[in-house]
Symmetry: C2
Subunit: 372 residues, 2 copies
Amino acid sequence: MTTVDGVSLPARLADPDEGISIEELGLAARNHALPLEALRYDVTPVGLHYLLIHYDIPDLDPGKHLLTVDGRVDHQLTLDLAALRARPRVTRRVTLECAGNGRALLTPRPISQPWLSEAVGTAEWTGTPLAPLLREAGLAPDAVDVVFTGADHGVERGVEQDYRRGLPVAEALREEVLLAYEMNGAPLLPQHGAPLRLVVPGWYGMAHVKWLTRITVLDREFDGYQNAVAYRLRSSADDPGVPVTRIEPRALVQPPGFPDFMSRTRVVRAGPRVVEGRAWSGHAPVTAVEATTDGGVTWEAATLDPAGSDADARWAWRRWRYEWPATPGRYVLGARATDASGRTQPVEQPWNRGGFANNLVQRVEVVVTGDA
Amino acid sequence: MTTVDGVSLPARLADPDEGISIEELGLAARNHALPLEALRYDVTPVGLHYLLIHYDIPDLDPGKHLLTVDGRVDHQLTLDLAALRARPRVTRRVTLECAGNGRALLTPRPISQPWLSEAVGTAEWTGTPLAPLLREAGLAPDAVDVVFTGADHGVERGVEQDYRRGLPVAEALREEVLLAYEMNGAPLLPQHGAPLRLVVPGWYGMAHVKWLTRITVLDREFDGYQNAVAYRLRSSADDPGVPVTRIEPRALVQPPGFPDFMSRTRVVRAGPRVVEGRAWSGHAPVTAVEATTDGGVTWEAATLDPAGSDADARWAWRRWRYEWPATPGRYVLGARATDASGRTQPVEQPWNRGGFANNLVQRVEVVVTGDA
């Protein structure tokens, strides 16, 4: 393990009433969220999908890019993009969400990428399934984790590293897992992992390794930084915690009306209105969405759009609608999703030391004005 | 003028040591910056160009979109996209920068979109020149300002409005000004003004009205919110100030080496290194760039790449390079551009109440480590 001194800040929680720091703002400026009005699109247009890049966007030449498969396999493989493109081609619509979504709204606030509620996006990912490639390489019977290495290089808490994540072998062998080289019908953009990335439908974004260079099969659990240190649900700094894995259910409101520039408070004209949004879960299909206009005190059932006829839409968000007879006053809109596993969203914050997998109900401030 | 009560926050400056507020963070999450490593690209890839959207991204149908030209003209015109596309077609490479770039680094900090140094991008804009269209409409001899109305709608400081900006008629008649319908060779993206926007090379971003619906010629100076209230250089709240217009010269360093995740401090291995970046000015061509490694105490001349042979590259940034014999230690890198008008960049902050047109020299923290 290579360490670098003097560049990393200690892990910490914000003091009560401590504003967002310049370092957090620097991450927010780089790693942008979905503007919430973009919930209107079934597939998020290019440039509006959320981004979380741990280090720098690497400068890779697609023509020279190679993927190596090694470790506990019978045959080490090396493939270029042409070889990957010659393999079976699949497109899946998948909603990705950052594991840290909602972090900046927690009290106390873990100091890291300061997401509000919008670290999400849905894309059509095209690539080749991973499982057949692993089978061709010949997985050893003692395989435990499959480690994915990206080309992005940096330092985190003093540890110099390529971004690297281990995935349990049973997850890596799911038929939905893709080695993706296109997004929304075009070659991957630099910031989304060009020329090759992993897509693990249902898992938070940290599993979808970008700028993929190597796949290594281990006969043990991977103990690298991103699995053993970073993405864990811990109650305190000395709690070893449990791994962050699949996406908790979440519904987001597409803010109605029009906004104020600075406060982003919404203005809605009184009258019958339709409030709509999206809902998703990485654990099981969403089965219900409820809407609130009073910040979670009372709830009404919303109507879910039919699930896509395409089985591939299982991993994408679903639209929901709620008919709201808006009368003048101030409101706090929100929604909560429930999935077939029985998981739902809390109104009181869940909390862990890293601010991960937090699916607290969103709060959209709305002023309803009388008809002009 | 329509006003809306109870949704806008008062204009204010941050208290000393006041952290970034949740409202500022909300704007930073929506309106993203250029990740600085993307200075490597001559033309900024889709999705990495900075964005500043006052209200929501409108949902417009290109097939039904109409542009009206009215006011002090002989013939009112209405054009659809097909009519605009049938007119002469021009592509120009233009660097855009937000007028508020650098605001969040000011002391005291004006509370608004909290840009650090990266609110910039360069694109190839394709469209039809504006001037011939205005001449065909027949400008009245008493024309003073040309007002551009966008479809984005919201509230600012209590004033409900479509985004609307006036431009002096002499600027509107410059041959470089475009009605753009493509960016980087593809139809405009929703967040960049689809299906039609204005491009005013050399001016800060507020002049490049997106989602353009109407062009109105006035026989007086436009006194709407964005000209009379928002984008002005004021020394205090009661100073009427002067308008924000063209882009002040700026050079940015493409941060060398690799970053720490949280602090974004750079790690560079000792040895001969090339530091490079980009420089631009909206007033006149950049004539010199100097680099610093000690936060602006001492300066060395950098080498400017030749200007593009294409006259259209006049409005795009230029690459510069500086050979740096990096020895172990801590450094603060920066650069300053000087243009043919004699304008350059300050090391001590310029300051105005809105935090506009601030071209303070960037500070890139670097740790040079010994060879491994």
